[in-house]
């Protein structure tokens, strides 16, 4: 008996060691691209392609290029306008549409819901060409309306809000109705606070997606005065010889705000993911 217990303890220890080893390997695989990005950003050597993992010379030229770039403030402002404009509009739209789909009885409700789900199945990039043609016909290329309004329509956000509202028991709402609350009071004072973890998670995801969005702004607002940070980074570093360290330092700069946000909101993220249970 004693022998057996000892044996099983040893087996358990070996299994634990293997699990830890696998974890460590996975973490290294995850960290590697980040390490590579950060290391590349501080070493300039145009003659080595691909760049060395640990650069032979150290330089902050890439960072200087962006930080002291006179257009940097414009890109930053454009990025903030794009990120927060789209996130705000999209969130508002998702709240109202989600509430309507979850709580209001109107003919064609389930048709609309499935229609929106269908939209979710389609890769967003597929819609770019038809949207581009539409925006040209509406003369909205290189305008804020063209840049900000189309990406506000997010099937994923609507779906997420509808599911979150569905999960709130009807009693809360009916108690408020009997107490004399209006629909606006019910939505903003009762329902939204109850789905706060999901809502915050959704907003955070949206901020990150929009902050990193490269293709849409370039597609519909290629004019220099609408350039966002990702566009600025890409188009400044672009030349006949590719300067990897410039791209890399631009990417590191781009990474800082979402990373900070993630860290601060970590607690909400973990709670919200448990509720939302899915990611785009």
């Amino acid at each position: 008996m004693v022998m057996n217990t000892k044996k099983s303890i040893n087996t358990a220890k070996i299994i634990e060691a293997i699990i830890y080893f696998v974890f460590i390997v996975m973490i290294l695989i995850y960290i590697y691209p980040f390490m590579r990005l950060v290391l590349t950003s501080v070493g300039a050597n145009p003659n080595t392609v691909p760049p060395q993992f640990i650069p032979s010379n150290t330089t902050f030229e890439g960072y200087e290029l962006f930080i002291f770039n006179p257009s940097m403030s414009l890109w930053l402002i454009n990025s903030l306008i794009f990120t927060f404009g789209v996130t705000l509009g999209s969130t508002a739209l998702a709240i109202f549409a989600g509430y309507a789909l979850s709580r209001l009885n109107f003919p064609g409700r389930s048709f609309f819901f499935w229609f929106i789900i269908f939209g979710m199945m389609m890769p967003g990039i597929m819609l770019y060409v038809p949207l581009f043609i539409l925006l040209i016909k509406m003369r909205l290329i290189n305008t804020y309306i063209g840049l900000l309004v189309p990406p506000m329509a997010s099937a994923y956000n609507v779906f997420l809000m509808k599911q979150a509202f569905d999960a709130v028991p009807k009693d809360f709402e009916e108690a408020a109705i009997i107490d004399g609350a209006s629909t606006a009071t019910i939505v903003f004072k009762i329902l939204l606070p109850l789905i706060r973890p999901t809502l915050i998670t959704m907003i955070l995801f949206n901020i990150v997606w929009n902050w990193n969005n490269f293709a849409w702004p370039w597609f519909v607002a290629p004019d220099r005065k609408f350039w966002t940070l990702p566009l600025g980074v890409y188009l400044t570093s672009w030349s006949y010889t590719v300067k990897f360290w410039q791209y890399a330092s631009g990417a590191v700069l781009l990474l800082i705000p979402p990373l900070t946000l993630y860290t601060i909101a970590n607690i909400y993220f973990i709670r919200g993911l448990r509720i939302a249970g899915l990611k785009r």
């Binding site: 009916e174 108690a175 109705i177 009997i178 606070p193």
Partner: protein, 366 residues
């Protein structure tokens, strides 16, 4: 304070052929200041009736009056009713104070008046020390009082309860039902109380409306329902353990009536019943007798039987006895001592307390 009148109230969910008649032609008058119970099994339409009165559902047919005002099509907020939900529906993201103040804030009352009224009602319900807490820090009983406070703080015309005690444990429930009854009598607000627990309805309510399949079975005081149930449904639904129902026939021998079960058991009936029951001679009827009116003893009863099981509950001892007939008929009575299973015993029935029901319509004959 108002009188609530329901006239031919009907609620149908869905469209034929998949429709459900939740409330069927319900006529009911709830007196000013009365505590009325809506009692029935699940799916009997009691909660739907309450929601119709609250305005959360619009009736398919019929009218609802508060005094002489037709409120049938008014939205809930214009009816001035308050409701306590089974789940309490206390908002988890607001402090107790804000929960209670919520209906007053919606009415945009001045801040100092809100504070004063919330404090007064909290003191009245004994939760004044909980006002700064979050609902997650409260027990079931405390949550229930918060829900009550939120309903009371508005001083509504009609108070609606949707099984408010079913989430409490047994001890707390018994405590709370006495509290609710006293509260309602103190305030005199017309109240309607939905429950499936007959004991709760009997303790709390002035009158009880028993519903089944959306139809009103009987309306009366708890005593009336218990002593003169209008049909088999009410007879077996009210009272615990339920009334014994035995099928048999009425036979006449020399100007005296007997209740006969399968030609084997013969129970002589009181002379006073002769006039009414002689119409049923030779016909099947259902005899109803409450367990407390059946005495089980070793010798001396009028019917022989074998003990099926005996249940000792401390203050009372129920004995179930199988009658010596083909079909399995078990009568529950009270015993003088615990009996062994299968023991021969005799049953004595208090013949002044028997009820008879028509075998076809299941309605009360006597």
């Amino acid at each position: 304070m108002v009188r609530v009148t329901l006239i031919e109230l009907t609620k149908i969910f869905g469209r034929p052929p998949h429709h459900v008649v939740a409330v069927d032609n319900l006529n009911l008058e709830i007196k000013d200041g009365e505590f009325l119970g809506l009692l029935g099994p699940s799916g009997c339409g009691k909660t739907t009736t309450l929601r119709l009165i609250a305005g959360l559902e619009i009736p398919t047919k019929g009218k609802i009056y508060f005094d002489d005002n037709d409120v049938t099509n008014l939205p809930p907020k214009d009816r001035d009713v308050a409701m306590v939900f089974q789940s309490y529906a206390v908002y988890p993201h607001m402090k107790v104070f804000d929960n209670i103040a919520f209906p007053l804030k919606i009415r945009k009352l001045p801040k100092n008046e809100i504070t004063e009224r919330v404090k007064r009602i909290a003191e009245y319900l004994g939760i004044e020390n909980l006002l700064d807490r979050m609902p997650s820090q409260l027990s079931g009983g405390q949550l229930q009082r918060v829900a009550l406070a939120r309903a009371l703080v508005r001083e509504p015309k009609v108070f609606l309860f949707d099984e408010p005690l079913s989430n409490l444990d047994a001890k707390l429930r018994i405590e709370a039902r006495g509290f609710l009854r006293k509260l309602q009598k103190d305030l005199g607000i017309t109240s309607i109380y939905v429950t499936h627990d007959q004991a709760e309805a009997m303790v709390i309510c002035d009158r009880i409306a028993v519903l089944n399949h959306g139809r009103l079975q009987q309306l009366g005081t708890p005593q009336e329902l218990y002593e003169k149930p209008s049909n088999i449904f009410v007879a077996t639904f009210i009272g615990s353990p339920p009334m014994n129902i035995v099928r048999g026939s009425i036979e006449e021998e020399q100007k005296a009536l007997f209740f006969i079960i399968e030609n084997k058991v013969k129970i002589p009936l009181n002379k006073t019943y002769y006039e009414i029951l002689s119409n049923y001679t030779g016909k099947d009827v259902l005899l109803g007798i409450r367990p407390e009116d059946v005495k089980v003893s070793k010798y001396g009863g009028i019917i022989q039987g074998k003990v099926y099981v005996s249940e000792y509950l401390g203050n009372v001892l129920y004995v179930r006895v199988r009658l010596p007939v083909e079909k399995e008929i078990i009568i529950q009575g009270t015993g003088d001592r615990p009996y062994d299973i299968g023991e021969d015993v005799t049953i004595d029935i208090n013949l002044n307390k028997v009820h008879f029901f028509d075998a076809k319509t299941e309605k009360l004959i006597l």
